[in-house]
């Protein structure tokens, strides 16, 4: 049972996250409409990039960070069954994230920092944009520390006992985030801010991009962690099954810790400042990430099969029909896996050093990360919110039908939005374009794809409205006494674990070690080379 203050803490995180998400969702659809042949073009590309920057920053930094933090605090209390230590610090962290969001969004909305959420030096925006992002990250570091402290306190009183799986995964996510966010922090503090404040007129854009790639791929796994924690610790319980293997879950999470860091340079396959051997090394390790992903897909499918068989499903596929398809969690995990499957298959193209040439900087990439993050991951954020809401509000979340509609719309909308992007990406339609000249005979046949994506986006907006409606209705519903919150039980509950799977030392050492082998040389080389800087290009309204 959550302490009352903790409930407010988690709710505050979720509400700010979802409010930001909703605004960003509307901006995303506006971008699609403006770029489509349906309306006359806005005439000012700056407005478009302003919107893209706000959309990306809110969706990539604010939403997942706050969901991970809020969910993390809930996991800490629910799974360790101890009051959250450092709740005041947690509120401070939350305040920093909110303050950072506001600080960053003011210059963005004024058109002073239309640099997109990945910063793209040598473009330089208003310093307050970057300072806002730093505040968000610093706020989340407080969460990292609190998760470690809470686990440490629990370990003291539970010597030798297995760490509950949700908390184990949660702390793995926290450590992953702590290490991966350092790359972008270094980039902002030492490379971008001196140029943004005007102390320097040049910037080493190549080095800055290498540092950002340090963050850029593992951040995706940080976004993914709440979804994976939900796969392992909420889904089997919610659909009436058992987790197939607790050990497999732990191995997956520690493998994410090890393998999601040393792979970021696959975002720089077309960058000239990194050697091809380094790129190949990163491509190999990117391939390794498929192992924990496949382990997860296998374990969760097996867990779901257990539920199907417990419900009387027989035969090779009869258990699929026996599953509780009316349960929102069941729908969410099924949709999530379908989108993860398509998105993952596309990801294999992106990580292949040679194939990437065909899709680099095309709409394919936009389609890929919307399908994985916006689809497979965010749909699990919805499921997490639905699962936690009665325990946070003390009120029933009764309208299951509306939830199913919402999840269906999100799934269909995301498929309709992203499949045309993948298709035209292969045809060569570039991404990050404010404007397509449909009068061009080469581009005109692709106009229909943009219209289809507009329709997909519209479905997503409707789904977003439903999501907010369901949560608001949850606050207005009848008061109930929710049962004690439970996580999934494993078929074989762990009673004794090898220390390696009950602690993080080994995996953190491997994570840092691999970062050094895979990033050490390119960073050292770029830092020592002279004349690698280029003129910084101020972006936004001058004069």
């Amino acid at each position: 049972m959550l302490n009352k203050n903790s409930k407010y803490l988690v709710l505050a995180h979720f509400w700010v996250a979802f409010a930001g998400f909703f605004v960003a969702l509307l901006l995303g659809e506006w971008q699609m409409v403006m770029r489509s042949p349906l309306v006359h073009w806005i005439g000012d590309p700056e407005l478009y990039y302003r919107s893209v920057t706000a959309h990306g920053s809110a969706m990539a930094y604010v939403l997942p960070t706050l969901v991970a933090m809020g969910f993390g605090y809930a996991i800490s209390e629910f799974s360790l069954k101890q009051a959250l230590i450092g709740r005041r610090w947690a509120w401070l962290g939350f305040a920093l994230v909110v303050l950072g969001t506001v600080t960053a969004m003011i210059p963005v909305s004024m058109g002073l920092a239309s640099v997109l959420y990945t910063f793209y030096p040598p473009m330089i925006g208003n310093p307050f944009y970057y300072l806002g992002v730093v505040l968000v990250v610093v706020g989340s570091w407080i969460w990292v520390a609190l998760m470690a402290i809470n686990l440490h306190a629990w370990k003291k009183t539970h010597r030798g006992e297995p760490i509950p799986l949700p908390m184990f995964a949660n702390v793995a996510a926290a450590y992953l985030w702590a290490w991966t966010s350092i790359g972008a922090a270094i980039e902002i503090l030492f490379l971008i801010l001196p140029a943004a404040f005007g102390w320097k007129t040049t910037i080493d854009a190549g080095l800055a991009r290498v540092f950002f790639s340090w963050t850029l791929h593992a951040i995706v796994y940080f976004w993914l962690m709440p979804a994976y924690i939900a796969f392992y610790t909420l889904v089997p319980r919610a659909i009436g099954g058992r987790l197939y293997s607790d050990t497999m879950a732990r191995i997956s999470f520690v493998l994410f810790l090890v393998f999601s860091m040393p792979i970021g340079i696959h975002h720089l396959f077309q960058d000239p400042q990194v050697g091809s051997g380094v790129k190949f090394l990163h491509a190999v390790f990117t391939g390794m990430v498929s192992i924990p992903t496949f382990l997860t897909v296998f374990t969760i499918c097996a867990s779901v099969e257990i539920a199907g068989r417990l419900r009387g499903g027989k035969g090779l596929l009869g258990w699929v029909a026996a599953l509780p398809w009316k349960n929102p969690m069941m729908l969410a995990v099924a949709f999530s896996f379908v989108m993860l499957g398509f998105g993952g298959a596309g990801g294999l193209i992106n990580m292949s050093y040679q194939l990437d040439f065909a899709v680099h900087n095309t709409q394919w990439i936009t389609g890929h990360f919307h399908l994985i993050f916006g689809g497979a991951i965010v749909i699990m954020y919805f499921a997490i919110a639905y699962d936690l809401w009665p325990h946070l509000t003390g009120k029933a979340l009764a309208n299951v039908r509306l939830m199913r509609t919402q999840l269906w719309l999100w799934f269909i909308g995301m498929i309709v939005l992203t499949f045309p992007w993948h298709f035209v990406g292969i045809l060569g339609m570039p991404r990050r374009m404010a404007y397509y000249d449909y009068a061009n005979p080469a581009i005109a046949p692709q106009a229909f794809s943009v219209i289809i994506s507009v329709i997909g986006g519209l479905l997503l907006v409707i789904s977003g409205v439903l999501f907010i409606t369901i949560l608001v209705k949850g606050h207005l519903a009848n008061r109930i006494e929710p049962e004690e919150f439970r996580f999934s039980m494993a078929v074989h509950a762990p009673t004794r674990l090898p220390v390696a799977l009950n602690s993080f030392g080994l995996w953190l050492a491997l994570m840092i070690g691999l970062t050094i082998t895979n990033y050490g040389f390119p960073i050292a080389q770029l830092m020592s080379l002279e004349q690698t800087s280029v003129p910084a290009i101020p972006v936004g309204v001058r004069k």
């Binding site: 390696a500 290009i537 972006v539």
Partner: protein, 266 residues
């Protein structure tokens, strides 16, 4: 259980995970740093160490023999960088003001011309400096400017640039009005003909080294320069960026762009 040590070769988890990761690193590195670069048909790789260095991205020595030599010579000798111009001090501006006495006949007493020659007041210092050097070296042809510039030393040109950049030029056109008035060629370019938007370099959003500010320049001057670029009688744009654009522009578009920029900043 708590007595079990993780960082020990007796621990199976330690040996397997560290050994496995090391094996992947070594195998991947051998393929990526040795095998692939060595098997390229590229003849410049001479040995194992060279293959590793190439794959690691160590810059190879500059090889001037590989650079093509243009029959027409270089379009310009000026290498434009963001730090090409030193910050102007008052002495430099003062010297520039004295030197500028010989320019007033055409460019006006305070850098605002009344003779359809370019207005230099408030112009980007890097742009003025580059053009002066190109006049002196003959990369930009002008029977008037060439003899004048040939007498100027490098510090003279810097002083002149600093002085004219320092002089004020009015910018009093509201932003919203610009968007409405700007012709399509300035705002969007013409993607079908490979013409970028003029405004992407000459406009509010752009701040690129040595790109001149065109606001309020005489219409006839802008039109003439575009025509020179189109006819390749002006060739000091180092990557042919202006020649490629101007060749594709129609006479109407040249007129529209010239008229638009001339009308700004009046």
């Amino acid at each position: 259980m708590s007595s079990e040590r993780v960082f020990s070769f007796k621990n199976m988890w330690f040996t397997a995970s560290v050994g496995g990761v090391l094996a992947i690193v070594v195998i991947a590195a051998c393929i990526g740093f040795i095998w692939i670069p060595s098997s390229q048909s590229d003849k410049t790789i001479t040995g194992l160490w060279d293959a590793i260095c190439t794959a690691a991205g160590v810059p190879s020595r500059f090889q001037p023999v590989l650079l093509p030599t243009l029959p027409t010579g270089r379009p310009s000798n000026v290498i434009v960088t963001a730090t090409m111009m030193h910050p102007a001090d008052s002495q430099s501006i003062g010297r520039g003001a004295t030197l500028a006495m010989q320019c007033t006949m055409c460019h006006g007493i305070r850098g605002m011309s009344e003779a359809a020659s370019p207005n230099l007041a408030g112009q980007a210092d890097a742009a003025i400096y580059k053009q002066l050097r190109d006049f002196k070296s003959g990369n930009r042809e002008s029977v008037i400017m060439q003899p004048l510039a040939s007498a100027l030393s490098d510090p003279d040109m810097r002083d002149l640039a600093a002085y004219y950049a320092y002089l004020p030029r009015d910018h009093n056109v509201a932003r919203s009005a610009q968007v409405e008035q700007a012709p399509l060629i300035v705002l969007n370019g013409a993607p079908m003909r490979n013409i970028g938007a003029c405004a992407s370099c000459h406009g509010d959003h752009a701040n690129k080294a040595a790109v001149p500010n065109l606001d309020g320049e005489p219409e006839s001057y802008i039109r003439a320069q575009l025509q020179h670029f189109a006819a390749s009688t002006r060739r000091n744009d180092i990557n042919e960026q202006m020649r490629n654009v101007a060749r594709q522009m129609t006479p109407d578009e040249i007129d529209a762009a010239a008229h638009y920029y001339a009308s700004r900043g009046e």
